[in-house]
Symmetry: C2
Subunit: 598 residues, 2 copies
């Protein structure tokens, strides 16, 4: 059985030293996030992760979900774990206090959710979808709808889903065909088929609140004719009790490469008479409503990347400490050692560890900017934080998930032959990770969003946020270069930053004049930016660690942080050269081949 140990020391370091949690806790609305409370939340959430969720992870993978006649049965233990999750009040952690939530900051929620996602990603997709649905309703639904649905959803008694995708409408939601016909009583009859609906049907909660994108009969074509509806599995009586079963059913569930513990449903709406739905907000504005949730949703998927990377690392590390094989090169003892003593295994472990730390640091730092963007009393700070968030979200989503696939694959490699055996558990992390670069917008979509709306078409000025970030990183480089212990990191970060600057300039120059060329480099630009900004966070971490060491701290965690920062600088930052070259010199090579010659 694979154990999971919450990496609370690193989480605390990132929260306090890099993400500035103290200043978050002083923002209006977060006054109750006192150090004591935060400590208690982290500890208890960690226990829940290690003791309740982690032991079910492999069971979910092996057993998966079963669907029979529209009824989905989850893997053994999931139902009880979910009950406990709700009873403990965990679902409500980040939610609005007005509906029974605890109103904790985004950045703290990120740390807590990272633990739960490391422990059992498939399970955590259910609350994640519920929280997304809660946010959509909270921002856009009528008071009546909010009062009916939010308290039970915040508690977790009812779960939520997002119904966007249809067979012909994946990345391109303009192609949505599901229909909503207005009824005399103000409700709508919904018909249509939705696919890839995460936790679309299950046995863990008494009701499921589906948020469904559909078109009104007179809706304009394309993205401006899509409306958002609440379509509950069971209708809700005026006294709040559950009423009749709505005309919607889970037609089937998918056989997936990973996240087997979560049912991915094909949902059929209105096969008999039409499913009763309630319009959220105004007609034809549904896609916009969904997009207001996008930053949170994409941050959360980026977090899945961090979580899987951490779990894969822990799994591989445990094996590397235990497995004895061969005498390491240069070891004169002649005695076989545990494989962690072999240089290449060590390289792989350092790679997993340092990249995971960099991803965590970048993600929490971005989450902290979201808290400032939402709650800082200073409008200028809110605006600047929001611009940073908008720029960083595609980077965090794309880079953390792409990296998690590589890291989970390295985890298998460290195991050698047994890594390929399912009972070992290492392969599940790769199979689970493989979806994260796809859902909530593929890496290609993130790249296009980044170089377009977030860079070349940025409303506050083309490239303004990228350049501001680059300036911040340049300052960091200059500071670090003054400390002889850190000057090598400074040098490597400086070179990588120059690559980012070059690539940014190239993008700004070419986006309008040569859009295909720019888009050919979009993903490279995203990954380059992830490495540089992640490397920046690691450089900041090294600076803080060095300062604390210089002040006399004996905490070995700080030594380890210096080592992972140096590794990241020496092994990850130099990759920017390849990306920069591919962006600035490689677009013709992407575009020149005639389609017929592929």
């Amino acid at each position: 059985m694979s154990t999971y140990i919450p990496p609370i020391r690193d989480m605390r370091f990132v929260l306090n030293e890099l993400a500035g949690f103290q200043s978050i806790a002083q923002l209006p609305g977060y006054e109750e996030s006192t150090p004591d409370l935060v400590e208690a939340i982290m500890d208890e959430a960690g226990k829940f992760a290690a003791e309740v969720l982690a032991p079910l992870n492999m069971q979910g993978d092996l057993q998966g979900c079963q669907c029979k006649d529209g009824v989905v049965t989850t893997a053994d233990g999931f139902r009880d774990a979910y009950q406990l999750f709700v009873e403990t009040g965990w679902n409500a952690l980040p939610c609005d206090v007005a509906y029974g939530g605890q109103g904790q900051p985004t950045v703290l929620t990120a740390a807590v959710h990272e633990m739960w996602k490391s422990a059992n990603l498939a399970f955590m997709l259910c609350p994640m979808l519920t929280l997304g649905a809660i946010e959509a309703l909270r921002h856009h639904a009528s008071e009546e709808i909010k009062n009916i649905y939010l308290p039970n959803m915040v508690e977790g008694k009812w779960t939520g889903t997002m119904n966007l995708t249809e067979p012909q409408a994946g990345s391109d939601l303009s192609q949505i065909r599901s229909k909503a016909v207005p009824q005399a009583d103000g409700t709508y009859l919904i018909t249509g088929t939705k696919i890839f609906i995460t936790w679309g049907e299950h046995d863990m909660a008494e009701n499921i609140v589906h948020l469904v994108l559909a078109r009104l009969p007179d809706a304009p074509a394309g993205v401006k004719g899509i409306s958002l509806f609440v379509v509950p599995k069971f209708l809700v009586n005026s006294d709040g009790s559950l009423g009749a079963r709505n005309d919607l059913i889970c037609a089937s569930i998918e056989h997936k490469m990973g996240i087997h513990g979560s049912a991915t449903a094909v949902m059929a709406y209105g096969e008999k008479v039409g499913a009763t739905g309630y319009l959220v907000g105004e007609a034809n504005k549904g896609l916009g409503y969904m997009f207001t949730m996008m930053n949170h949703a994409r941050l959360n998927v980026g977090l899945e990347g961090v979580a899987l990377a951490e779990r894969a690392y822990q799994h591989a590390l445990a094996y590397a400490r235990e497995r004895v094989q061969s005498v390491p090169a240069g070891d004169k003892s002649g005695v076989a050692k545990t494989i962690i003593h072999h240089a290449d295994v060590r390289r792989m472990l350092m790679d997993m560890k340092s990249r995971t730390e960099a991803m965590r640091a970048l993600l929490y730092w971005t989450a902290a900017q979201m808290d400032h963007a939402n709650n800082n009393p200073d409008a200028a700070i809110r605006q600047s934080a929001q611009a940073t968030v908008d720029f960083m979200i595609p980077v965090v989503k794309g880079w953390c998930t792409e990296s998690s696939i590589e890291i989970a694959s390295i985890g298998i490699q460290i195991h050698g032959g047994v890594g390929f055996i399912e009972e070992t558990g290492a392969s599940q992390y790769l199979r689970d990770a493989r979806i994260t670069t796809i859902y909530e917008g593929t890496t290609g979509i993130q790249g296009n969003d980044l170089i377009g709306r977030k860079l070349a078409k940025e409303k506050i000025g083309a490239g303004a946020t990228a350049k501001a970030l680059q300036q911040q990183i340049r300052v960091c480089v200059e500071e670090l270069s003054k400390d002889k212990n850190l000057s090598i990191i400074a040098q490597q970060l400086g070179v990588a930053l120059s690559d980012m600057e070059t690539a940014t300039e190239w993008m700004l120059e070419n986006y309008d004049s040569n859009p295909q060329a720019a888009h050919a480099g979009a993903v490279s630009y995203l990954l380059l930016t992830g490495i540089v900004t992640g490397g920046w966070q690691m450089a900041r971490a090294a600076q803080i660690a060095q300062r604390q060491i210089d002040a006399g701290s004996q905490d070995t965690f700080l030594q380890a942080k210096l080592a992972t920062a140096r590794y990241f600088a020496a092994h990850q930052l130099p990759k920017t050269m390849g990306y920069c070259s591919a962006i600035t010199e490689g677009s013709d090579a992407v575009l020149s081949l005639d389609e017929s010659l592929f």
Copy 2:
């Protein structure tokens, strides 16, 4: 149903233009490999791949093998396909004519096997193991053993296995504990448990010839006390008919991440009285015998990487040509297009295509060197070719397999959400590919072999072969730089070559004085060398294509080759900068962290 189209045009180009097949066909022993015969073999082998093996690939994945009471049942269709394979004479293609083989060159066999492995890797592991066992016996067994076993094995009527690994002896075979006790009649009684035995038990052939590593009672400890035995499933009577069942059984088969169609067996020898085995060659020399097969075995696993990359590419390409989604950036029509028109999808397809071509070119070129090393009448050429082969084998094995994982993963990405659904078939290639960097020596083992025995400890002089290769590549750079159509490739190859030269020098300087530091960079050096030598083959291909175009050829294949060569130069070659930096600047960062602080 996924179709497979043998890429015969590219194979022919690589065979004839890059691997110099004409000169191979003139070597003693290969005189019958006339152009007509080669053409016929390629065509028929391609049909067998497309029509017989490819349609069974997903079935093997879904159904897998079943093991009950030591009897293994293969997936529907596998047994019949194997019968047809044997009846057609395919198994004998590369084998010695003295035992009924066709004696075709290694490089031609590589092309043919690539098709079959693309079509159905799990199936092809069975003949691949048989061929390995045939080679081991042919080189080292007595005439008596050869006469008993080889004709049936060459025909494919009997299959072969390699039994090396034990639970405590994976990468470190010195730990082997299986025992062989001499009997009065000259046979041996074998006892022990072997794991990860590919096709160790199955229902496709009437007998299975196990080659087993075990220790004699008086054997020295370590690698110099291991002997090799033939241990048939059924003993063979003096008239060649099958006799009693030997005391060996398949204890179980593994649940693996991929290659489900092939049974990976735990083999128990001698649980009753001891399994009867026959010593191959001399006692205590078994590991050496196995190592004489190593170059072929590792070439074949590298070939699996090429084959899976090709199949994943074809699968993704078919989807990208068919799936309509969104209006591409810069497209003024406003009409949604197939996704191959989107720049990032095109980038991914070019990446898959160009890397697969580079891998194929490098692998066939290396295989051709093996033919020269074995059959060239000129001793100096044989020796030089063998040195090249020895250097290139770990590169081909490590780089092609590591690349195949990335390429198969990109294949999933191109599919978007449906790529994660098992019925789509794209995930199988990634799951199958995931073992290739592990078996026959992990990438770490390949890296250590490369920087050690093949570079710093090279018998003909430290670094001699690497430097000779670098010199050849430098000449190619100089030639290409004279052609304005190719000068950009020349420039990019030149920069990458300089990185290889720098890394080679660093390795030679540090291997003895700082072995852990050298080994920390071993895999980076391997991947760097793969990119540079693969890029060199693509540069050679571009040069030849340009020459034929200049001479008036209208063959669009040549245009495509120029495009993939340019892509490889612009997108893959610049990665050497990161690897070179990691090797020369990054070893401290790998090694500095105390073990307890991971």
